[in-house]
């Protein structure tokens, strides 16, 4: 324990002691004054504090907003069209809930102050009033229907099919980073299978770069190389997107559940191992433009993992660079496909069945895999164009 720690503890203990002594003393005082009188005094103080809390609370709400509003995303336009819809929805909801918040809180604390105990008054015996109850059943119901209506209108717009001209990018989460894949010149993503993942060989996604036979729970599988994957571009530094060009993200995970969180685009979607998900949006501003809009020369579109994924969760950062079409073409031209031809084509160590250690526990074969090429479930992504 350092001295500061001890000092703090001492202060805490002293504070307790003083509070306790005051509390005890006040109990004796109330005995001396008479219970009725001390009750009345306490009641007045608490009633007064109710209205003080209300006033200071309202000032606090205003002050908090002043101090923090500019630190949120609200002062700046959303970087995607979907995000604009979400911002509109946010404003509608803020307006409705804000009105309700102020009315109910003011009534609560004002009533508490106004109707504090008095000997001269008796409470009003008022057990129910059907008209009032119907009123405050229907009014919230109508308000909420409005919110549901707007909400679902935008929801279906956002979750609807991506436009036909959308660019496709695959993003795969892993502990603790992101892998981006572009389909290459043929505009088709090559097939992949998670058992083919080989970090040492640079095959981070398990693309079918070579023929192989392997022992799997579904029996011996012969996997044929998929040439459509030979030109796929695999990147881990940043995802490049084109301004005003819709993009559809195909989201995967290699290990646990992650989440592609894009606060500036107001988008978010989980990355679930074994179940690819999708999300599409249209970036509106390039990274450079956003630097000017937000007045922040260091602005970047960050991808934040939004689903607890392990001890490095907080560091799982990705990057999106939104550029103009010309810049994108230039960037794209510089990218090398991830494909590496097998160095030793007939290497038995690579191709023989059982080259990989047989898994300890093998669940029963439930997928009824046919002979020849087995199509592994789930993780195959073949884009249609």
């Amino acid at each position: 324990m350092t001295t500061t720690g001890l000092f703090l503890l001492a202060i805490l203990a002293l504070g307790f002691l003083i509070t306790f002594q005051i509390a005890k003393a006040s109990e004796y005082v109330s005995v001396l004054k008479g219970e009725k009188k001390s009750f009345e005094q306490n009641n007045k103080i608490n009633g007064f504090l109710m209205v003080v809390f209300l006033v200071l609370g309202l000032i606090g709400v205003w002050w908090c907003n002043k101090a923090l509003y500019h630190k949120t995303l609200m002062p700046y336009p959303s970087a995607s069209e979907h995000g604009e819809n979400i911002d509109t929805m946010l404003k509608i909801t803020l307006l409705i809930t804000g009105i309700v918040f102020f009315i109910t809180q003011i009534l609560l604390f004002w009533f508490a102050y106004k109707y504090q105990y008095s000997d001269k008054r008796r409470a009003f015996y008022y057990p129910h009033n059907n008209k009032l109850e119907v009123l405050w059943t229907t009014v919230p119901a109508i308000a909420l229907c409005t919110l549901v209506g707007f909400g679902l209108y935008y929801w279906f717009k956002i979750t609807g099919d991506a436009p036909a001209n959308a660019m496709q990018v695959e993003i795969t989460g892993r502990q603790f980073g992101w892998i981006y894949r572009y389909p290459g010149k043929d505009n088709v993503f090559g097939k992949k299978y998670f058992r083919m993942i080989d970090e040492a060989d640079g095959n981070m996604l398990g693309l079918l770069w070579k023929d192989s036979t392997m022992q799997t729970p579904n029996g011996v599988q012969n996997l044929k190389a998929d040439p459509t994957g030979f030109d796929d571009i695999i990147q881990t530094s940043a995802m490049y997107l084109i301004k005003d060009q819709p993009v559809k993200l195909i989201i995967n995970s290699r290990d646990v559940i992650h989440d592609v969180g894009l606060p500036h685009f107001r988008m978010k979607m989980d990355a679930v191992p074994g179940t690819p998900t999708t999300m599409w949006f249209t970036p509106k501003y390039t990274t450079e433009e956003m630097k000017k809009i937000t007045n922040n020369p260091n602005f970047e579109y960050e991808i934040a993992c939004d689903q607890m994924c392990g001890n490095g969760h907080y560091s799982m950062k990705g990057l999106i660079k939104v550029v103009t079409r010309d810049e994108f073409v230039l960037w794209r031209a510089k990218q090398q496909p991830g494909y590496k031809a097998p160095t030793k084509a007939g290497d038995p160590a690579l191709n023989a069945p059982g080259a990989q250690p047989a898994p300890a526990a093998q669940p029963a074969d439930t997928t009824a895999a046919g002979a020849g090429v087995v199509v592994p479930k789930g993780n195959l992504v073949a884009a249609h164009k």
Binding site: L68, H128, G206, D255, G274, P359
Partner: protein, 602 residues
């Protein structure tokens, strides 16, 4: 204890009374430890819950220390925590373990076990007019399963690989794979074991609560004459009985995936740490989330309904005015109970859920705001034109309403899938659920403790400390959680150890420091409450009248120190509802008083 009160033992009821008042000699162990008296069991739940709350609260202080001061080291932390704070800094493993344990402990062991366990046990027999629970033995077992689960959960803090650290929701694959996170090794097995025992405890308790309310009400106590506390505790028990088994099934499948090589939740997984592709194919990680949230959402109401019930009762007693719209209050509790089962997938809008299915859950989720709104307006009308006595219980009940409004309204943001895309898993969510089910349920619990403490121990708690506790906690709770909404609106994700590397979220350093400081002060204030509680058990001002709050309900017709069996003579008969305050020029009319010939109707 009086003997020989029953002059003529003729009816079954009177015979039963004798059992109630007559006591054969009890040893310390049967009276206070393995007690079957619902009042003792309630106190056991309460005190265990309080110990858990201190542990869980202390955990939040520790991780707030890290969040508020990410670049500072505290060598004394290493003295206390050892490897958890190597070099005076909370390590990522221990940070996530603390966050996970904080959530698990507070949600289950404090606000479910501690809250329902205490007040359902204490109030149901007393307010329904019963000698004890339907099955006192099961009731005792309920506590001891809770205690056993607590011990197992606590023991997981001391193992080599650490307690479970994948978040209180324990989503697989993270929770299934020890290679993905050290906390998912033995820590997770202990977590599942503890939770299984907790579920057993909760079911034993819940079945008892329901059967007691349905079968053991005293003469004249029709369901519509029950105080709202009992209605709330009854619906809470129903929710628990119907949803906890589903959670357990989810845990069992998880256990199979962990140890039996099944693939319920696992598919297509490659673990970089071991350079190995797992054999599992065809499982769905999302299945677990459905099973989890099928409990997880009703769980929110399991936490909240008892607080609502107690707040309703305490508001009415201290406003000296009947609760407004009793039937609407019962109806809205019922509506909340039904809807609680139909909204679970709103936690899963961004998991890749079918958008149409999502839209159904939006509708049902926002529908639940209607009964909630009815309750708020009814509470407001209850205090309108009332005559309020600001007892500590009343203050906390009023604070509960304020917090329930604030936290409930932000639920309208999150329940709307469109906004949830943006706000999901950000600090907005943290702010929302801490206000609406964390702090407000705690306020309901505090209200209950202050209000029924005289019945529990025959003494009052100290008022001055209670006032400091109330105002400090109310102000502190808003100072902590209100600004977090802004962090959420910046998209700041929850469950991050450190934000300083993120250009999108590092603008809140000062705010985090502020929040952490307030959190520590508020935690210290809770210690003041704990002190007041234990001090008052032995040294508090003595209760001298049977009915210190001038309340109408049955528990105040028992002796100041009721024995096992509660009433010494016959159980009183009930003639009216529980809310005849300020009627016909009288301050209050107890439930036991027959309806007078000239009494006005309500």
């Amino acid at each position: 204890m009086s003997h020989g009160h029953a002059e003529v033992i003729t009816t079954h009821e009177v015979h039963h009374d004798e059992h109630g008042a007559h006591h054969h000699h009890q040893s310390f162990i049967t009276k206070y430890i393995f007690s079957q008296d619902h009042k003792i069991i309630a106190k056991q739940f309460l005190i265990t819950g309080m110990i858990w709350a201190i542990i869980g609260g202390l955990m939040s202080v520790l991780f707030r220390l890290q969040l508020g001061y990410p670049d500072q080291t505290f060598p004394w932390l290493e003295d206390i925590l050892g490897n958890w704070a190597r070099g005076g800094k909370i390590t990522p493993e221990s940070y996530y373990a603390l966050v996970t344990m904080h959530g698990t402990i507070l949600v289950f062991f404090v606000l479910t076990g501690g809250l329902s366990g205490t007040f359902a046990n204490f109030l149901i027999p007393l307010q329904c007019g019963a000698r004890d629970m339907a099955s006192p033995m099961m009731n005792m077992l309920s506590y001891w399963f809770f205690f056993g689960g607590s011990i197992v959960m606590l023991s997981s803090l001391f193992i080599q690989t650490g307690p479970f650290s994948g978040g209180w929701t324990a989503y697989p694959p993270l929770s299934a794979l020890g290679d993905a996170s050290p906390g998912s090794k033995t820590g997770m097995d202990l977590w599942i074991t503890a939770m299984a025992m907790f579920v057993v405890s909760s079911l034993l308790g819940g079945l008892n609560y329901v059967s007691t309310v349905l079968n053991l009400r005293t003469k004249g106590m029709s369901m519509t004459r029950l105080p709202l506390t009992i209605w709330a505790l009854f619906f809470t028990a129903v929710l628990g009985i119907l949803s906890f088994p589903v959670l357990l099934s989810g845990f069992i499948l998880l256990l199979f995936d962990r140890h039996a090589g099944t693939s319920f939740y696992l598919s297509d997984i490659y673990i970089a740490a071991t350079n190995q592709a797992l054999p599992n194919e065809g499982g769905s990680a999302i299945l677990y989330q459905h099973l989890f949230w099928f409990l997880g959402h009703p769980e929110v109401y399991i936490i909240l309904l008892p607080a609502m019930g107690m707040a309703s009762e305490i508001l009415s007693v201290n406003a000296r005015k009947p609760i407004f719209g009793y039937m609407a209050m019962v109806g809205s509790l019922f509506a909340i109970t039904i809807l609680a089962f139909l909204v679970w997938a709103h936690h899963m809008f961004v998991t890749g859920l079918n958008p149409f299915l999502g839209s159904v859950f939006v509708l049902l989720t926002l529908l639940i705001a209607v009964p909630s709104a009815i309750k708020v307006f009814n509470w407001l009308t209850t205090i309108w034109k009332s005559n309020i006595k600001f007892t500590p219980g009343m203050l906390f009940a009023l604070g509960f309403v304020s917090l329930f409004i604030s936290g409930g309204l932000t639920g309208i943001f999150l329940g709307n899938s469109t906004l949830d895309i943006h706000l999901h898993d950000t600090y907005f969510v943290i702010a929302h659920f801490h206000i609406v089910m964390g702090v407000s349920a705690f306020f309901g619990m505090f209200a209950g403790i202050y209000h029924w403490f005289p019945k529990m121990y025959g003494r009052f708690m100290n008022n001055t400390m209670a006032y400091i506790h109330f105002w400090g906690t109310l102000i502190g709770a808003y100072l902590i959680f209100w600004p977090m909404h802004y962090e959420g609106l910046a998209g700041m994700p929850r469950r991050y150890l450190d934000y300083s590397n993120w250009s999108s979220f590092n603008q809140f350093g000062e705010l985090n420091k502020f929040i952490s400081t307030v959190a520590m002060i508020v935690f210290a204030l809770q210690l003041l409450f704990v002190f007041n509680f234990f001090y008052s058990i032995w040294k508090g001002r003595k209760v001298t009248t049977l009915n210190p709050w001038d309340a109408t309900t049955l528990e105040w017709t028992t002796p100041i120190h009721p024995g096992h069996g509660n009433w010494e003579g016959e159980i009183p008969e009930v003639h009216r509802w529980a809310y005849d305050y300020s009627k016909d020029g009288r301050d209050f009319i107890p439930q036991t008083e027959p309806i007078g010939p000239n009494e006005s109707k309500h």
